[in-house]
Symmetry: D2
Subunit: 285 residues, 4 copies
Amino acid sequence: MDEANAILLLSCPDQRGLVARLSNFIFQNNGNIVHADQHTSKSGKLFFMRIEWELNGFALGREEIPVVFTPLARQYDMKWDLHFTDYTPRMAIFVSKHLHCLHDLILRRHMGELAAGVEAVISNHPDARELVEQFGLKFFHFPITEKNKDQQEARELELLREMKIDLVVLARYMQVLSGKFLKYYGNRIINIHHSFLPAFAGGNPYQQAFDRGVKIIGATGHYVTEQLDDGPIIAQDVIKISHRDTVADIQTKSKDLERVVLARVLRLHLENKILVYGSKTIVFE
Amino acid sequence: MDEANAILLLSCPDQRGLVARLSNFIFQNNGNIVHADQHTSKSGKLFFMRIEWELNGFALGREEIPVVFTPLARQYDMKWDLHFTDYTPRMAIFVSKHLHCLHDLILRRHMGELAAGVEAVISNHPDARELVEQFGLKFFHFPITEKNKDQQEARELELLREMKIDLVVLARYMQVLSGKFLKYYGNRIINIHHSFLPAFAGGNPYQQAFDRGVKIIGATGHYVTEQLDDGPIIAQDVIKISHRDTVADIQTKSKDLERVVLARVLRLHLENKILVYGSKTIVFE
Amino acid sequence: MDEANAILLLSCPDQRGLVARLSNFIFQNNGNIVHADQHTSKSGKLFFMRIEWELNGFALGREEIPVVFTPLARQYDMKWDLHFTDYTPRMAIFVSKHLHCLHDLILRRHMGELAAGVEAVISNHPDARELVEQFGLKFFHFPITEKNKDQQEARELELLREMKIDLVVLARYMQVLSGKFLKYYGNRIINIHHSFLPAFAGGNPYQQAFDRGVKIIGATGHYVTEQLDDGPIIAQDVIKISHRDTVADIQTKSKDLERVVLARVLRLHLENKILVYGSKTIVFE
Amino acid sequence: MDEANAILLLSCPDQRGLVARLSNFIFQNNGNIVHADQHTSKSGKLFFMRIEWELNGFALGREEIPVVFTPLARQYDMKWDLHFTDYTPRMAIFVSKHLHCLHDLILRRHMGELAAGVEAVISNHPDARELVEQFGLKFFHFPITEKNKDQQEARELELLREMKIDLVVLARYMQVLSGKFLKYYGNRIINIHHSFLPAFAGGNPYQQAFDRGVKIIGATGHYVTEQLDDGPIIAQDVIKISHRDTVADIQTKSKDLERVVLARVLRLHLENKILVYGSKTIVFE
């Protein structure tokens, strides 16, 4: 008996009968829908849907589903992805010198709270090695200079491909990734930015927030695109600050926020609840 | 051309094919679904759904929909309600001496932000009359004593029935309504309670919060049941307080919260986004 | 017996003994301090203080306080203001076509929640007249064209001076005020901006937030300076949005936020809890 | 040169001149006040103050301060504590089977974010041993049965005294401590409760929150007293939930909250910013 569920994430031009057509596809193959969520963008006349159904009793095998679904998808001009809830995605974490998000992810993994395998931790600095290896995980050090940047990134990408990494998490990684890298991992690279984007994009947002005298700071989890800090936002959260908070206090408060927002964003991604639509996301919470 | 939408809110025992069956019902009658949201309660094995579709082009007239839908609903043992988005519900507001929520609702109505008609304001005190009548609304004063309570409430209920009131809002009304009254308006009476329920149920929650020394206070919007302060919760919100806040400061902060939470709860109810399930609500936001 | 309190707000270069010197000044004149709050900016080496004491039993009369305090203030190079809690500031509200904040302020005043007199409502549009006059308040219509802008603003300023207005509130006022106007009312003009500044400064922040796909929107209350949307921030608050929210939904949610943030900012200003320091504020909450 | 600061936390019956008297004490000994915060409880007519000043240049040595201050304190009937910012308190963490808060504290310590030494981790279960020892910390296993409870607790208390533990943190510890234990460590035992107290005190607050159908859950950090879950609250925070959240989802969301609230509460305690007043706290943030 197959205890897992299948999840279909799709988008297509809106038209009558889409919900009926899709739910019939599941029903006629004897599937039991456990979640169905749908959204229609009026401005773009686009239809988005996430359907999750039990594989137990479903008439089609896992490999048959895409074969049978493809003609239907073509008819409605759908973009779609199929996921199974018992697959554990293989994740690589990139990090530089600020290790709080890395630490948090390692502990969540250790406690069984993270539905992904931490297959590799990659850094341009050696600082994280000890902690990473202490938890039995693999650490790779790729020092980066202006000269070797392209070459090192190519080696990183090769490593990720060899390791069959599904998802790249930039847990406070301070290097910009090239278009080639981004293209290969399109919408599968998640970054945590330590400000409430679009405010304080770019460098040192703690100092920027202090200088501007804002009364609330934030953190933003987003997919990475070539436009720095401009990718589709997945989740944001904020915390109050006051005139008493120094830049160091802002950093301390923000670090808690970054950990929590990154964990939430990963949970949404790993539960296949996010559809990217242009520069924005649809999050079926 | 009918510009309105129809909304079906339903619940029934969970079984395979419900989403398909319901979306087919819309599709086969040439309806265009604009929103569909569904929830399955695993513990209760119950299925809940809200479907909204365009009446424009729909094959069935407004009166025909229930006729045609009834056999299907019976087959699956459904409880259901049908609403149309161009109907403006008729609302009565009950109030005692604290008028901030009443004021807020009157202004929202005045600004066109409230999708309901304020048909009557009913109070056991005369204080609100001037403001209510200043905005061209009807004010009814029903003074209540221990002796005349049953009689006055019966007269109020009669008035509401005559005025064809759809929804009763207790905007800080300090009298307990009888079981008879509640039965007649089951799940159509909304109360705003000035605490974060279940904390500080009963009288004077501001003082209770002060005495306990909590660091956050809240407000709760809920449907009214015979168990005081124990009805199904629709929405809650909170605000921080500190040792500097006196009971009067707590009241001032809370009043803002009460206004906003009550307005949010009304919006959800008037958009037919709430299903009641036992002592809880399903809110399709 | 004088039931009011005196409040001293001051800033000066930091040095040893300031708290002692100031509290001695109160004590030696037989004053009872009810609140004292102090802040030292390490970067700027500046000292800020707010002291509130009872006038009841104080040895100096209200007019004597500044006379006796001036030598002490000079010695430490202080900037300072003296306020009395029984003075009700005279407020003018500027508004254009979005009236929700105006409505809210009028109702708060009507309910006795606003510690200021609403002496004048000034608008470049006639829309607000009816509501304003209904509450017995004065409405002044100054239509503004490109040609008459300077002239009209000069007339507005003259009116404010004649009416001895202490505080100007821009409650969604769509005209930029001139440097001359700002200079006259320096740090006594409060604006509510309908975004989480510095994000989405300038026009149509609701649309900007929608286009960027943020998951949280905000509102900002600040003092007005010549740099548009760049004045010292007093308070901010936020609310979550999702992909389901249209621009109209964002507006509806934001309007609640704007009302609450503006009311909070006014409360802080009217309680003399704010010190401006360069482009930032110190808020003694 | 002494780079540390001294912090005086005190409370006494309110009377004129207290701020002056205390700031003079610092000033006359050539101290530079860097923070001063004060609160007067009107209902209780009590005065509370926290003063922090630089030891650099102060005329009194660390041991002389209490000697010289005692007569002044007696005169005004003060309760007081004196702290120095370069002292690192010695902390013991008690834990049972839920280890997320323990993990978080260990990592914060590892990252240098926690201004206390983790001298001992004590548990009635062996589960945490591996992780604790992996970070080079000491783990003590005290299995507890109904029979040996008193005896084991006595041994724990003896261990804490031998180790000169200053602060006990119950990081999800499921055993009730005796009055004797609490008396010894009065106001130096901090508990994190996984609900928004006073709602859902006692066992299984996640299930209680699910059953009641609340829309917001919380976590509460408080000092421990003999009345279970009734001690003085230090800080609280909340997060939204919906009908989609199962008890397991509520747990996942709550665990993030518990970590953050516990860390915040510890920071406030370790910075000597909390005064306990009856069943409430004054938190000088």
